[in-house]
Each structure stands twice: as C-alpha cells, then as structure tokens.
C-alpha cells in the first residue's frame, strides 16, 4: 500500500438530495450504498433499524421512542438525542452537523443532546477530510430534520383531528394548534409519530432560511464543558478495565526493518510485560514493548538493542532532493502537463516585463498535539474492539483487517475525539499497529501510544516541492505567459506517477486565465512517507503561485490587488477539465479579493516602510478565500505579524459562525506556523527533527493579535471551512514581508531569511 498515492480529497460527485428530487429517486439513492451519501439509509426502514445490522456502537433506544432515522431519537419523556456521525478532530463537525438537523426539526439547541456514533456502515460517509462534511450533509440533513418534524405534526393532526396546515412548531419541541390553544410536546407525540408511514418527499417543506433559529447562531462546541474540566474524550484518554500500555519502536529510516534484536534488558525493566518483534502485512516493522504504564513502556525503549536493515531510503536527503531539482530544471524532460498557446514565443516577445524565479518549500509534519495512539481489545470470541482517534475509520478498519488477516465484520470501532487531525489521521497506521500488538494479549485492552519523537519521525509528511516559474506581463498589465516546472515526488520508487498529494492539476491556477501557459512536472523517486496535510497540494503550491503573481505585479509596477483582479477578469464560471472537479467561478474569487482588500484598508490606509501588507487568494475544497496580512519588520529584521483579514465565500449559509470563524482563525495561525517556522529535513533517510524544539509550532506571542473573518454570502451551496482559508496564508505573509522590506523570500520556512533592511 502506498499511502502517498491516496488522495482523500479529490472531488467525487456529491450526491445532493435536492428538493426537486422526486420520491422515487430519493429512495433509489439507497441503492448507491457504499457510494457517497445514501439518504434513504438515514430514514426509518426495516434494514436501517435492525439491531444486528452493524457492530453495536450506535446507541440503541427503547420501544416507543420516535426514531425516524438513526440520527434522531425522541423518547416519550421528551429526551431528544442527535447522533454525530463524523469523527471530530476540532473542525467543529460534532456541533455544526447536528445544528442542521435541529434547525429543521424545529427544536431549541438547548433541548438536545449530541451523542457520538461509532463506525457504522449505516451512517454514510464518516470521514473528517476534504472540508466535505458540510457540502455532503447540508441538504440531506435538512430534509431529515424536516421529515421528522412533518411526522410529529401529522401525529398531532391525527390526535386533534385537525388539518396539518392549521398546526405550527414554534421551535421549542412542541406542535401548536393556535386556533384551539392546544399544544403537545414532541415527547408526547413520539410514540404516535413512530407508527406513521414516512411522508411523501414532496410534502416535506424545508424552512425559509429567513426563519432559521439555530443555524447562523454562534453555538459553543458541544464538548466544551467536558474539555474545560478535563473529562476523558480523546483516544489516549481511553481506560478500559485491566488495560496495559504499549510502545512501538520503528526504524528511524523510512521502510527499514528489524534485522535482529536483543530484548533481554527491556524484558527485565520494571513493569514490562512483554517485548516482541511486530511483523504484519502493511504494518511497519518494529519492536513492541508492553508494560503496566505508558512511562514504563517508553523508558524500556532505550534498553532494546536493535539492528536494522535500513534499506534503500537510507541514501536519501533533503539536500539530495534539492540537487535533483536543479538537475531536472537544467535538463527538462518528460511530457508537458499543459501547453496552451506558445509559451516560448510569447515569453520572448518584445515589450514585456519578464520574471523568472525559483521557489521551494520543505517537508513538514502534522504535529498533532495528541501523538498517534489507539486502544485495541482482542476478545476471546475472535472479535476485536478498537477505540480510534481516526479521521477515516473505515479505511483504518480495512487496513486493520488486512494486517490481521480477518474480516472487517469482526472489528468494532469506537470513534474518540482527536487531538488534532489536519490530515494525519486519514492514515491509520496506529490502528493496525495497536491491533497487531493486542493480538498477543487476548482479553486484555492494549493502548499503543506513540512518543512525540515517534509522531514527528514517522509522519506522512506534507510533501516538499520545487517550482521554477517564468511569467510575462504585457504593457496593459495582463499576464500573457506563465510557466511552472514543478519538481515533486513520485508515488514511491520505480514509478513515473506523481504522488496524489504532491501533484499539480492540469488545470492548475492560473491556467485558462493566461493564454500561453505551460506546466511540467518532474517526479523524484523516493521512500519518504507522504500524506495529505490540511488543504493538500493547495496549502503548499499556493505559496509559489501567489508569491510569483505578486512578483509579476511589482515588476510591472501594478498594484497587487488590481493586478489580481485584472488576471481574474470578467466574472464567469470556468468549467473544470478534470472529471468530478468543481467549476471555478472567477467572480466569486474576485469578490473575496475585493472584500479582503476593502476590510484591510488596502487602498485607503497606506503603510510606511518597515510595515507592509500582502494579499493572496485561492480556491480549494469548494471554498474561495482571500487574505490580507499586515506585518511590521524592524531594521534588524524582527518580524511582527500585526493583523490578518480573511474574506471567504463558502456559500449562502454559515451554519455556526463561531465554529466557522474559529476554523478561519486557526487556518491563519497554522498557515503562518507552517510557512514561518516549520521544516522537516531528511538526512540519511530519516527525519532530523524529533520534537517541538526543532519542529516548532507558532506560539501565542508570535501570533497576530487581530484576526478578522468576513464571509461573503453568495447564493451557492454551503461548503466547508477546514481547509480553504489556509492556502493563501503563506503567500500573503511573504508578500507582506516584501512590501515592508523589499525582501522577496522564495524558500520556506521564511524565518531562515535575513529580513533586515535600511
């Protein structure tokens, strides 16, 4: 399995159950089980509620409860429970998705309890990735809530023998008949509603957004009261009776395997119960230590004497990759990814402003604050139970089944809250490892915990990249030619295929906006584990693209905002060239550029030398984002990031403004962190960094004190915010530094550059 080749965030068609869809097609969606989002699975039906249809990690209810779908339960006593199906990694989905259901169910947010589901095939796509939770669930969840409400209203109509259209729901879990002054709570109606047939799809009316009472409100995360008192929520907080603790020592060189090991000293260490070599399909080779406490397991690591077969990756280094990029640029080979017009001829035309520049960025680690971990229990009956902090638990379940040589149906997966995701936990190596270790301890729950160094040295890294860019601007300020020779990473060894998380798209921005556009990719073979890192591809590549656009603007003597707006041109929908990819709307893109510029005071409030603003924009994961960053750089090069102004267009409805702004604010900090201070360097086939001392995170005193988020509301389907804001952050920062100092920094991390000026 080459995980670097998996692309979790491509754009499979999102099946949207629109109100225009007739009931027949509505039900037909059930047949698409396994492919996207099958709404009918969510609605009550014989298979949907069969208790044995899935491992019992979804709470069961009682006779007489109203359970119009697995997501909604109303007891006769009036207890309303909404199931949170997706894994929560801090993106706020455990709050935002239930809000959609609650809105249309027409109950007050304070009247419901949210319960986390386990992995359950009946619940549709349970993935935290690609900013897709909102676009996938928005319409179906509205319909789900509205259908449940319609059943409750019908139950009241039958009870009082009045027409449905004389009834209303005031938003507090009651049905009211105003004419007679009668009312009934949803609890009182629950058992009767449960006996009613599902209403005709067409009769289910969604609310007018003007009447929304829950969506659009600032709602505090459902787990906040537990978080602030330190209640157990996270994977590493799992404590089962009799639990033991494990660590796994892997070869520091990627892909290296255990050649020989002496376990004796480790086995004699206090608390150590066992130590053994781990070998299973798809699981990294290593030595496991099982102990009575995490600390005892960690401490015994130093007592292992392991000889490794380091393998071919031991010859690789970051310096080697950079040198290979130079060679590739000198001797460009291989097919062009894109070749519009005639770049060479256009670039050489007289009277143009020409710029050539090379950009690079390093590998970086996800640095989840909660290191990877997983708890597994091998039961006597052959079943295995797993508590996993996973962004993609189904994939983890599949990998675990393969590693153990068992069926996935024997595995029950509980979803814990995650101490950060950012794409790291889309790869589930920790799940299979925990299960394989637990296999040696049937009947005993085993918690595998990675050390911080394990986490940093066995990540699936954000790929490094090297761009050689050339561009030309005509006297009217129009970009007429653009070329990018991108030296990137292959999907492993012995392949010309570029790793899915490290590729440019053929219709990469700014292609189609520039008449003469040439894109070439050279993939380097390698053994470095690569994986999706928040807004994969975009969060790295945008740095080169939007920095270089800035260079072109300045070289042409144009204002960077005006120059960008001219590049985007007339508002129009530019269809995707790749199947399933989204349309690019240049008008929406220009809209956020204008908004960010306006809110930042771009044109009205000029800054003196030593202070500067930079702008950048990007479209990714269905969201349009622009950001202006304002910095101060002292003469001796000390950087202060004063302010960040974000403008984002993610459609017509911000479900939870507090959560949405939190994602945008976090993206700014993450974008600064990843471009200003972070790098993982490879030497002799291993990561040189091992902790926050050498792969730091931005600290509170380094973060901007002011981060403003402005949403541009447009009449488009609501989409997610975990990713779209981050790609323009690094170039906006680099562009601001240029504006303040005249230093164009083209290599990340930015803090390696001397920013002093006089």
């Amino acid at each position: 399995m080459n995980l670097s080749d998996i692309d979790p965030v491509t754009f499979p068609p999102v099946i949207e159950a629109t109100s225009a869809m007739d009931r027949r097609s509505f039900l037909k969606l059930a047949a698409l089980a396994g492919g996207g989002f099958a709404l009918a699975l969510y609605l009550r039906g014989p298979s949907a509620l069969a208790a044995d249809a899935s491992p019992a990690v979804t709470p069961a209810g009682a006779e007489g409860d109203f359970t119009p779908s697995l997501f909604i339960r109303i007891t006769p006593a009036g207890v309303i429970t909404i199931l949170a199906s997706n894994p929560e990694a801090g993106q706020g989905v455990k709050t935002a998705l239930p809000m959609i259901i609650v809105e249309e169910l027409d109950v007050a947010w304070e009247q419901i309890t949210v319960v986390q589901a386990g992995l359950d095939s009946r619940l549709g796509r349970q993935v935290a990735g690609g900013s897709r939770a909102t676009p996938t669930h928005y319409d179906p969840f509205r319909k789900l809530g509205a259908t449940a409400r319609a059943l409750l209203v019908s139950a009241a109509a039958a009870r009082w023998s009045v027409p449905v259209n004389e009834l209303n729901t005031p938003g507090d879990a009651r049905v009211v008949h105003t004419a007679s002054g009668r009312s009934a709570t949803y609890g009182e109606l629950a058992t009767a509603a449960a006996a009613l047939p599902l209403p005709d799809e067409k009769s289910v009316v969604l609310k007018n957004p003007a009447d929304f009472r829950v969506m659009g409100r600032r709602i505090s995360g459902v787990d906040n009261p537990s978080i602030v008192k330190g209640a157990p929520l996270f994977g590493v907080d799992v404590r089962q009776p009799g639990q033991v603790f494990a660590t796994l020592v892997k070869c520091p060189v990627f892909g290296g395997v255990v050649k020989s090991v002496s376990l004796d000293a480790a086995l004699k260490a206090p608390g150590v119960l066992a130590a053994f070599v781990v070998k299973a399909p798809g699981v990294a080779s290593g030595v496991a230590i099982v102990a009575r406490s995490t600390w005892q397991a960690f401490k015994a690591r130093d007592l292992l004497v392991i000889e490794w077969d380091e393998g071919r990756t031991a010859a690789e280094s970051s310096a080697g990759f950079a040198a290979a990029a130079e060679v590739a640029w000198k001797t460009p080979a291989g097919p062009l990814m894109r070749n519009d017009g005639d770049f060479e001829k256009a670039f050489a035309t007289d009277g143009l402003v020409r710029v050539e520049a090379r950009y690079s960025y390093p590998f970086i680690s996800h640095a989840n604050l909660e290191p990877q971990n997983c708890t597994a229990l091998f039961k006597e009956n052959g079943r295995i139970e797993i508590w996993a902090p996973s962004q993609a638990p189904q994939r983890g379940c599949d990998d675990t089944a393969k590693a153990l040589g068992i069926e996935t149906s024997a595995i029950t997966v509980h979803l814990t809250r995650m101490g950060g995701g950012f794409g790291r936990r889309l790869t589930n190596d920790f799940m299979a490892e925990a299960a394989v270790i637990a296999r040696s301890y049937p009947g005993v729950p085993v918690q595998l915990a990675w050390t911080r160094a394990d986490d940093m040295q066995h990540d699936w890294y954000r790929p490094a990249g090297f761009h050689a860019l050339s561009g030309a601007v005509d006297p009217a300020g129009k970009v007429v030619a653009w070329s990018d020779h991108f030296v990137t990473f292959a999907a492993g060894y012995d392949t010309d295929k570029v790793a899915g998380v490290a590729t440019l798209r053929p219709d990469e921005f700014p292609s189609r906006l520039v008449p003469h556009c040439r894109i070439r990719q050279t993939p380097l073979p390698h053994g470095i584990p690569l994986g999706p890192w928040r807004a994969p591809r975009a969060s790295a590549q945008c740095f080169a693209q939007q920095s270089f656009i800035d260079e072109l603007a300045h070289a042409a003597g144009r204002d960077p905002v005006e120059f960008r707006l001219a590049l985007l041109g007339e508002p129009r929908a530019i269809p995707a060239e790749e199947k399933g990819a989204p349309v690019f709307d240049s008008g929406r893109m220009a809209g956020v550029v204008r908004l960010a510029a306006e809110k930042s005071g771009w044109a009205t409030n000029k800054l003196p030398r030593g202070r500067g603003r930079g702008i950048a924009f990007h479209f990714s994961h269905l969201g349009y984002a622009a950001i202006v960053i304002e910095v101060t750089v002292s003469n001796d090069g000390e950087l202060t990031i004063d302010r960040a102004v974000i403008a984002a267009d993610v459609g017509r409805q911000i479900i939870n403004p507090s959560g949405a702004e939190n994602q945008a604010e976090g993206s700014v900090v993450d974008g600064i962190s990843s471009s200003l201070v972070q790098a993982v360097t490879i030497a002799a086939g291993r990561a040189e960094q091992s902790g926050f001392g050498d792969m730091p995170l931005l600290r509170l005193n380094q973060a901007p004190k002011i981060i403003e988020t402005h949403f541009l509301i447009t009449d488009n389907p609501p989409t997610g915010l975990g990713e779209p804001v981050i790609p323009p952050v690094p170039p906006a920062l680099a562009n601001a530094i240029f504006s303040a100092t005249g230093h164009r920094v083209r290599d990340l991390p930015l803090n390696r550059a001397d920013l002093s000026w006089s």
Partner: protein, 155 residues
C-alpha cells in the same frame, strides 16, 4: 516503597511506583486522571501543565519524588464544587477550543496567571501563555477569554 501524593485535595498511596516517574504519567496511568495531557515529554508544549502549590509546572518533566508532600491541582480539580470558574465559563462562552487537547494546560496556565495578576495586560498574557502550544491556533480566543474572565471576576 510507598509515596504519598495529594492531588485535588485527595491523598493517594502510590505503592511500588518508581519515584523517577514523571508526575504526568502517575496522574494518567496510576490515578486515571487523564485530563492532564502528554504532548511532548520535554516541557515544551505545556499540555501537561498542573499546579504545584499553586504554581504552574510542566508535569511531564517533574519526577514524582519532587512532589511528595506538596499540593497538586489538576484540571479535574479546578472547580471542586462543580461550578465553572470564570475562566472555564469564558472558555465555553467564547468557544475557544477546536480539538481541545491543549486546553487543559492552557486553562491551568491562565488560572495561575489570574491568581497573581487579576487584570493582565496583553504583555502579561504573552509571557504567561507562550509556553502553551495550541496546534489548532486558538490564540486570539485564548487571549480574549482571559480578558473576559478577568473582567467577570472583578465585577
């Protein structure tokens, strides 16, 4: 060998625990107080912050032997009566957390800050809170929540 440890007002006998064990792991693996988090094991991230006689300390680099007979407070003991402290309330009201993993440590550092500086300026917050990393980047909200709690406490 038996050591006594007083955490959140309760005294525990720790039979057979190696006195060099960092307090973090005593809390998590021996006492099942898992609110205090492991982030780095090097005292660099602050996720393991607890109070030792009221002072914020990094429990991941604090050996058990150093705290015998001292008074420890963890996130679980911040509000012994179950009522949220002004900081906990501000954290909820301002929806500070994203993933939430660092927030126990943030709250322990912020609580210690307000105990010695009830009305902190931004510079006080910078110096008290910059040892606590937040991977999700909730720093602007952390700052706001501290100001909010400081105001709430003084009115």
């Amino acid at each position: 060998m038996s050591l006594k440890l007083t955490v959140n007002g309760h005294t525990h006998d720790l039979e057979g625990v190696d006195p060099t064990t960092p307090v973090l792991w005593v809390l998590r693996d021996h006492l099942n107080l898992v609110g205090t988090k492991y982030g780095c094991g090097q005292g660099l991230c602050g996720a393991c912050t607890i109070h030792l006689d009221g002072q914020p300390v990094r429990s991941c680099v604090l050996p058990l032997s150093a705290v015998a007979a001292r008074r420890l407070t963890t996130i679980e003991g911040l509000a012994p009566d179950g009522k949220q402290t002004p900081l906990q309330k501000a954290w909820c009201d301002l929806d500070v957390a994203q993933c939430g993993y660092c927030q126990a440590g943030q709250l322990m550092s912020a609580t210690a800050l307000l105990a010695r500086t009830p009305k902190p300026a931004d510079a006080d917050i910078d110096s008290a809170m910059s040892g606590n990393l937040c991977r999700c980047g909730t720093y602007t909200r952390i700052r706001s929540a501290i100001h909010t709690a400081a105001t709430a406490s003084s009115t």
